[in-house]
Subunit: 212 residues, 2 copies
DNA sequence: CCAGAATCCTACGCCGATGTAGGAAAAAGA
DNA sequence: TCTTTTTCCTACATCGGCGTAGGATTCTGG
């Protein structure tokens, strides 16, 4: 049984790829492990086993465990950022704020639903102290990006007063709402399509922000 | 230097308390460690050092590391539940939905600000697999509690249609909004009092839910 | 004041994960 | 085909955290 069932049984010798071609595979395996058992479970051994390879092969790709996880976080963060940019672009066509919220959430949820694993990483929360700094930095980047979009938009649409003071709080609220949308999308909600969910939540969150 | 500066220097022999009186101290120390360095850093050794005691003393209070953390989570969850109950009670006096949201958030944020450590635990996210189950169970309990309050309230106030389908999504949104409020309260917002923040966010979230 | 009980501390063995060295197998080149 | 190079695997040493045994110290009751 060379394929499928990965019991702890004897493994076939892995293909002769070399570090450069092996590296993306390692990150894929690391992502699998992180999604299934949390970032804390991403050990060199676990990743190697997931990939069907021994640990030294992983060490040939990354100097140590921390660099491996940082590489994973880098890659996934870029993927996420791309999706966010696409979602933001999709809102540009409309001058109606409510419609902007709705289409933004719709395209974002649709794209996010296509690579659930990457997004679950974001919801997982930080693991051991070694990664914490890098993880928080990623979150901070998103916060900044969100602020850079929400601030001008609210100024332009509604001339919200005292925006300087309110903005940090609103950004936090916005990001948390996005998390809620994501959870609803990835977990239970089989009876919601991305379009339905995006419209429902986009409208609700728009109401919260409009008269802030 | 028997007090203060906890370098790694020689320690004084700890007082003769015994497991029963020592146990709450151990949980206090564990909470400190969790807040400072994350739940993943709550090892028996770290807790013992934080408390100024050797590891066997901790083992005299709890059978193993998992039971210690579970005891911590139990205690903190009860504290949290008490606060939530108080906040919910405070909304009962008013029949105006918006006012209910506002006073609810206000009392909750005020009480939460008094024991920040306990609440930061909630934001920290799950650590290793051993605790994950217990941690998720706590979150599920809050979800259920929120659903039990939001559902009837929305039915009574606004006769929201198709509530069965919407409720799970709305509960998720509500909890995430609470997290946002908490983050704003505990982190940056020095220029927001609990009353101001509760009014601002309570109103915003009320708008999101009213016409859902 | 002294025996006995309760409590704390030192010291140990164990296990899982890390990171490394050197030999075996596969690919590449002559 | 035979040699050289690349890549993978087995085996090892190390480290940190877990959990326990037994001696040292402090409290307590007579």
């Amino acid at each position: 049984m060379p394929t499928s069932t990965r019991t702890t049984a004897e493994r076939v010798r892995a293909a002769h790829l070399g570090p450069d071609r092996r590296r993306p595979q390692v990150l894929d395996a690391a992502l699998q492990v992180a999604v299934k058992r949390g970032l804390g479970a991403v050990t060199v051994g676990a990743v190697a086993e997931e990939l069907g390879v021994t640990r030294p092969v992983v060490y040939a790709c990354f100097a140590d465990r921390v660099q491996m996880i940082e590489a994973l976080l880098d890659r996934e963060q870029h993927r996420l950022a791309d999706v966010v940019v696409q979602a933001l672009r999709s809102t540009g066509v409309s001058d109606d704020p409510e419609q902007a919220f709705v289409t933004g959430f719709q395209t974002w949820l649709r794209l996010a639903g296509e690579q659930p694993g990457t997004w679950r990483l974001l919801l997982a929360g930080q693991p051991d102290p070694a990664i914490r700094e890098r993880f928080d930095a990623g979150r901070a980047a998103f916060t900044q990006q969100a602020a850079a979009w929400i601030g001008p938009a609210m100024q332009r649409w509604w001339h919200t007063e005292d925006l300087d003071r309110k903005l940090p709080v609103l950004v936090e609220l916005f990001l948390s709402s996005c998390e809620a949308a994501l959870r609803s999308m990835l977990d239970g909600a089989d009876d919601w399509t991305p379009e339905e969910l995006g419209e429902f939540l986009g409208r609700a969150i728009h109401r919260a922000f409009r008269d802030a």
